[in-house]
């Protein structure tokens, strides 16, 4: 260790590159991506379980399966988990793992910041779920409970949107909503840090020659998503600070009696909320735009149109938020304006759908599982989009908002859209991740079973909503004829659960015993298929130079006079050579060393969270102090630790 850095090593810098310890201190974007993926999948199972409990309660009229408190906790946690702990981190898994590979970089711009984002996310999620152990709730002030709220019921119970004033201390007694507010605050911070990291990576670490309009569409969609994250998360951070101060320090932001304005919460929440739902859907759109061309053996139809449509959706996302509030009594002029702006968003979405159809037109379609999921995405997302347009018509929305019609809409868009897109991506990049092929038969079973279950579950919700079934209702009267269709929905939900089990079985078995996949099983078009799978830690032995969009395809194929691709005779040789050089690079490659500090900061933030919640007690204040101190010392320690870019003059010999 050279003199300059000696003081920084209070304890020796971690050097493990294998085994458990290497995962804890890793800064490798691939390991972080894998960890994001597995954590998100674990939360998907938990969120799915919550959904099944909800469906059992609603299977028949006047159900008694869950108590009112438990039902409210389950639907809130289902919403919060699926949005913040499943789709966002799963998109982060794809972005972290694939962005550097697709743009020809060795790692993200700030590897340790990337690790920090993951650890803050993980411990933020665990902090949120610790409400089931420590959280307390009860009847509103002055109310009486039928019986003590069970552990299952002591979780945030004011909806994933947490409308004020129901979240005020006098209506939400106990600590569960503090867990919700501070948990989301920590998760928001994780996404904000990773968005800044990825924006810098996309702009500054592209392969030579890869101009912006030569980047794969998934990279473009990630760029738009990260800008949406960077600009929308601060808004929810302010809103969450306001509700935390209202609950903990008695501020009057949403106390209507003393000047506060409950509608302000809705404005701030949905100002973040709508860009948020585009953050959930755009990565899946990016995945579909990568999968469709490969299995149609045709370039993406209208690349520039798809990219600009994505950017337009991202930007317009900031101008439509009040369509969630049409019936909340905002002025008629505002309702008209937001209704029209919501309609304009349907146009770029339409462009994307037509361009996907254009991609498949005249293609040579191979119906592998990723292709099936992508076509499923296009079909189901169209239904979600169309039902979305029907409630941009304001008077119609007065009938539809807060009913199961809206539940159907956003499940068609989020489940039919994002989850289908994510499964398409998981199957598509499975060979790259593991070096083995998944079982096509199991994959198809999984798709058709999920497709059936999905439609059985969410199609009936459209007319349930139109017949007057209200959202978040613990039960519905027996004289309304909503019972039969609700039973169908419950059965559908269990079919989806079965299909998820099929996926898990396929994943676990094929990871070990799947057939060898090689580096380019799909004869694909983007850079991540030019390196060995699973990719070595340094990704590219030689940073590639890119001359055109879908450069790898053009290296493998030339075009005859009818513009039909003809495989170059050198193509197979090229693929073998890429595999060979990929595995043994010429010169040694410097890689940023692992570090303790990301996990240290990640651990100290929830301690601050507990401190804020229990600042009333002495040990709460102590916790707060310890947490803040730990955060600062970890950051200061981090600043001392040289990031160890290869160009460091004084310490070329540092271990890596």
């Amino acid at each position: 260790m050279t003199t300059t850095a000696s003081r920084s090593t209070i304890f020796r810098r971690p050097t493990a590159t294998k085994g458990f310890w290497s995962w804890i201190t890793t800064v490798d974007h691939k390991k972080i991506g894998v960890m994001y993926g597995y954590t998100a999948f674990a939360f998907l199972l938990i969120g799915g379980l919550e959904a099944l409990l909800l469906r059992l309660q609603l299977a028949g009229p006047e159900g008694q399966f869950l108590s009112q408190a438990e039902y409210n906790a389950m639907f809130t946690m289902h919403g919060t988990t699926m949005v913040f702990l499943v789709i966002m981190p799963m998109s982060a898994a794809f972005m972290n793992y694939l962005l550097p590979l697709m743009i020809g970089a060795r790692d993200v711009a700030f590897p340790r910041l990337n690790a920090l984002s993951y650890w803050i996310f993980l411990f933020g999620g665990l902090f949120l779920y610790s409400t089931f152990i420590f959280g307390t709730t009860g009847a509103p002030a002055g109310g009486f409970l039928a019986e003590e709220v069970s552990r299952l019921g002591s979780a945030p119970n004011a909806g994933w949107f947490g409308y004020a004033p129901n979240t005020e201390p006098q209506f939400s007694v106990g600590t569960v909503l503090d867990y919700w507010a501070i948990g989301l605050q920590i998760l928001g911070l994780a996404s904000l840090l990773s968005s800044i990291n990825l924006i810098t990576t996309i702009f500054n670490l592209r392969a030579k020659g890869m101009r912006l309009l030569r980047m794969p569409v998934f990279v473009w969609m990630s760029l738009v998503v990260n800008f949406l994250l960077a600009f929308s998360l601060p808004i929810i951070a302010v809103a969450l600070w306001m509700i935390t101060f209202d609950r903990q320090f008695g501020s009057q932001f949403f106390q209507a009696a003393n000047g506060g304005d409950p509608i302000l919460w809705q404005h701030l929440f949905w100002l973040f909320g709508h860009p948020e739902v585009y953050i959930l859907i755009l990565p899946a759109m990016g995945i579909v735009s990568e999968v469709l061309p490969v299995f149609s053996r045709k370039p993406l139809f209208g690349y520039a149109a798809v990219v600009f449509a994505g950017a337009a959706i991202g930007f317009l996302g900031f101008g439509v938020w009040a369509h969630h509030m049409f019936s909340s009594g905002i002025s008629t002029v505002a309702q008209a304006a937001f209704g029209l702006s919501t309609m304009t968003i349907a146009i770029p979405t339409g462009i994307k759908i037509f361009n996907w159809l254009g991609t498949m037109w005249m293609g040579r379609l191979r119906f592998t599982t990723p292709m099936l999921f992508s076509i499923g995405f296009v079909a189901m997302f169209t239904i979600g989009g169309l039902s979305g347009v029907t409630h941009s018509v304001v008077p119609a929305d007065w009938q539809q908002t807060d009913t199961y019609y809206i539940v159907a809409h956003f499940h068609y868009v989020l489940f039919g859209g994002a989850i289908f897109g994510i499964f398409s991506g998981l199957y598509y990049w499975f060979p790259k991740l593991t070096g083995r092929m998944y079982s096509e038969r199991l994959g198809k079973w999984h798709f058709w079973l999920m497709f059936l279950g999905f439609n059985l579950t969410f199609a009936p919700m459209h007319w349930l909503g139109l017949q007057g079934m209200v959202r978040r209702t613990w039960q519905y009267a027996s004289d309304t004829n909503l019972g039969p269709w609700n039973m169908v929905v419950t059965i559908g939900a269990f079919i989806i659960a079965a299909s998820i089990l099929l996926f898990m079985w396929n994943w676990v078995v094929s990871k070990r015993r799947g057939a060898e996949a090689g580096i380019d099983p799909w004869d694909a078009r983007t850079l991540e298929w030019t390196i060995p799978s699973p990719p070595p830690e340094y990704n590219f032995a030689e940073i590639p130079t890119v001359t055109a969009l879908d450069d790898f395809w053009h290296k493998k194929y030339s075009e005859d006079e009818e513009e039909r691709p003809v495989r170059r005779d050198t193509a197979d040789l090229l693929v073998e050579e890429l595999e060979h050089t990929g595995n043994n690079p010429g010169k040694p490659i410097h890689l940023p060393g692992p570090s303790y500090f990301p996990i240290a900061v990640g651990l100290s933030l929830p301690v601050v969270g507990y401190g804020i919640i229990y600042h009333g007690e002495v040990w709460g204040v102590a916790l707060l102090a310890v947490g803040v101190l730990a955060t600062i010392t970890s950051f200061v320690g981090w600043a001392q630790e040289p990031a160890e870019e290869p160009g460091e003059e004084e310490s070329p010999g540092e271990e890596h």
Partner: protein, 104 residues
């Protein structure tokens, strides 16, 4: 904006220029505070004047102290994007909560 002196080739404002800019900022702040006290007389004119002064100070600090004037164009683009987006979005919030309810 008044340009005290054409910045030399290596586009670093010299310390002397920094001090000049600082003085200019101080003067502008003084004018702002002065305007505050004339509020009863000028009435409606004060608010726009204060906003313009604030904008000038904003521009001075961002342009010279944060060196945005000499940086590449897209940095101004990112920073401007955040500023304009915030301005637009919160203007709409303020309008729809404070002004539009009057129209019913």
């Amino acid at each position: 904006m008044s340009e005290p002196a054409q910045p030399e080739a290596h586009h670093h404002p010299s310390p002397r220029q920094y001090v000049q800019i600082a003085l200019l900022l101080a003067v502008l702040t003084g004018i702002e505070v002065g305007l505050y006290y004339t509020e009863p007389t000028f009435g409606r004119l004060v608010t726009p004047a204060l906003l313009i002064l604030a904008a000038i100070k904003f521009g001075l600090v961002v342009g010279y102290y944060m060196h945005l004037k000499y940086e590449k164009r897209f940095l101004t683009g990112f920073f401007g994007a955040g500023f304009i987006l915030a301005g637009l979005v919160y203007a709409v919030v303020l309008v729809s909560v404070l002004i539009l309810p009057r129209f019913g």
